[in-house]
Symmetry: C2
Amino acid sequence: MSSTQPARGTRDFLPPDVRRRAHVIDIVRRVYERYGFEPIETPAFENIETLTGKYGEEGAKLIFKILKRGEHESSGQADLALRYDLTVPLARVIAEYQNTLPKFFRRYQIQPVWRADRPARGRFREFYQCDIDAIGSTSPVVEVEVLSAVSDVLTTLGFDDFRVRLNDRRVLQALLATAGVPPDRETDALVALDKLDKIGPDGVAADMTARGLDPGVAAACLRLFAPAPDRAAVETLRSLSVRLADRKDVLGTLETIVAMAESTPVAGRIRVDPSLARGLSYYTGAIMEIAVPDLAGSLGGGGRYDNLVGMFLGREVPACGFSLGLERIIVVMAERGMFPPDIASAPADVMVALWDESSRAEALALAGRLRRDGLDVDVYPEPDKPGRQFKYAASRQYPIVVLAGEDERRTGTVTIKNMRTASQITVPMADVATHVQTELKRSPVS
Amino acid sequence: MSSTQPARGTRDFLPPDVRRRAHVIDIVRRVYERYGFEPIETPAFENIETLTGKYGEEGAKLIFKILKRGEHESSGQADLALRYDLTVPLARVIAEYQNTLPKFFRRYQIQPVWRADRPARGRFREFYQCDIDAIGSTSPVVEVEVLSAVSDVLTTLGFDDFRVRLNDRRVLQALLATAGVPPDRETDALVALDKLDKIGPDGVAADMTARGLDPGVAAACLRLFAPAPDRAAVETLRSLSVRLADRKDVLGTLETIVAMAESTPVAGRIRVDPSLARGLSYYTGAIMEIAVPDLAGSLGGGGRYDNLVGMFLGREVPACGFSLGLERIIVVMAERGMFPPDIASAPADVMVALWDESSRAEALALAGRLRRDGLDVDVYPEPDKPGRQFKYAASRQYPIVVLAGEDERRTGTVTIKNMRTASQITVPMADVATHVQTELKRSPVS
């Protein structure tokens, strides 16, 4: 007998789960469209070369590879891989359809991605990303629009306490240089620092020295990157003055983003945080993360990546985006009771009970009549004692049961039982839908 | 430079494609819910043992396998596999959550599946199935409800010429016995016959003899299974009288399904077709397929599988379901022009043009004002000549452009350009949303 569990790190979603997920996705989609973002979808798997060399060392380890089919299967060769994020597939799409897509393409994409990560609380091997990206412009208007849209999503979902951390890849690099990290070891240091939330300062220090960084340099990094909420961001930025090339440009852009954001839904939520490190190797400019106090890690993150499309296209196309994690949003919303109460409502408005075998066609016709009137209708599939059928309807929380027994069929009527008020009426068959609609509007006795 | 193509047999969906797919999926979902079906979702991949031994020989060949991660990677061992359909994952879910799910569980599931099939016109390696299944009853009411729901979907989408072919696995077996196929070679014969549409009678005969079936038996099978529209189904069924065990039961059930269907949306569309063969090995009773004249193959198929859940649960749970193929529906709808004309509408109602760098914050505030009024708004991201911005807006088919230039900002006004009527007005900033809404309702000059 086969095991009945889903694969490790993945989950089944039963009807109440799917309804909660659909509630969030609908709002995400609606808000993204309000900002002019358009939907695209890409395949679950890509040619393996599409994904390799895009995520850095840590990412590469987590890519699920698919065995080549046919005669090559026994060789263990992999020619396909499950997508690891939605950004690299987007970069490929931009390059492939460059003549079709508009100059400033705003796209959203809500699809699952897969990572062979160690499963943990809130961390899965299959999870949904809700991405927006704006392609084609280096203007900081893009960063502000992206942050506005995701803030608007979270506000519409009911979040009122999220905070945005904003940094720039180049500030990070300057910080690393200040700490004594050689330019060719920046990636090692960043990959280690990005795990600060997960493995703590000691883990990061150990990881850094394991990667061959000097222990003194590791300690200096940790001093600079340890959370320091009481140190003003501007101070830290000033201290970078010596090392930061393009200082005026980089700091100016961060200031512009914060200033422009004041006239948008993200107003008052942004904190420039020079210690914000994001591990993905493709970021080139602004990087950002959104978090709430009661969730370790973030609800989502993003940034500017002006070179990634060029890896497919051969010429650079600027881009900036943000990815909201569906599962992380849902975890917090569930814990805080933020879902509307009617979301777990009954799967149907009405159940048609079955009197006996000879009345099956009439029961199906009755169900059809109610459905044509816009009602969601289940049919009890086999003849059974009325008491058992009503008990089943109660267990399913169906508000209404309709039944055409022998008497009713003789007189061309139907009996409607209101399960919430425990009352019942017998009405002409022709009027059944109207009466059911009326009963549905009656309040429960409680 | 990496290739920019999606993997073989898969496709990217650009915004107009996604909108068409969403149109179909929304209708499918709405109709399925009208029949009391509830949504579930399952992971893209399963433990490999969950899928093996469930689809028969041909299916097994087409399963995409995922390499075990970590130190075992070089061994070429696969421990996971992409789901091949939505039915086997459902059977696993029924077994896993048997104490949570209702006795008569009606579920729908709209998700992609993956098959390493040879790609061809309308046949992909990644495609969406829109499944409904009713669990827990052997009553033929279930078959009728399932067929009614999918017929209702197709009618609501605008199809008026689809036909349902209905058969029973046991009638098939009787036909095979009549042709001289030994009981232990039934699967071989069915797998070959299921390819009749794809490879023709000669291909099927060759495949059968390659599988060790007697050439005379192969010829007899082809005589019985060749499309014979002018031979009445009842005649064929009569000719089975000798060989068909449970004849009364099997033929009675088919007759009951057809009779009950007459009071539902599938009325008049069902044809009992003893030559209908479906390849999947898990069917045990009724099998069915829906087709339209202008598409080779079917729009979808299904049947009863009373033993599959038992492979996970250890006790039998009756089940019957149907799977509509999203891509096949879309191919026909596109060719017939069945999509509503407004589906490829502009990605936004309004574009906010950008006067100069110093007015960026004001442009963002203006966009926010319009969005709060329910409008979908794009913002031109960088300062540019007004003519180029209007040209861009025209190329995107945005109906309205709003602009606050120097004059407007001095007087607290905004200029609204209606791109369809080529007229423009200047209005107070406070009233801009109302005026844009009015302009959107004006007819184009054409």
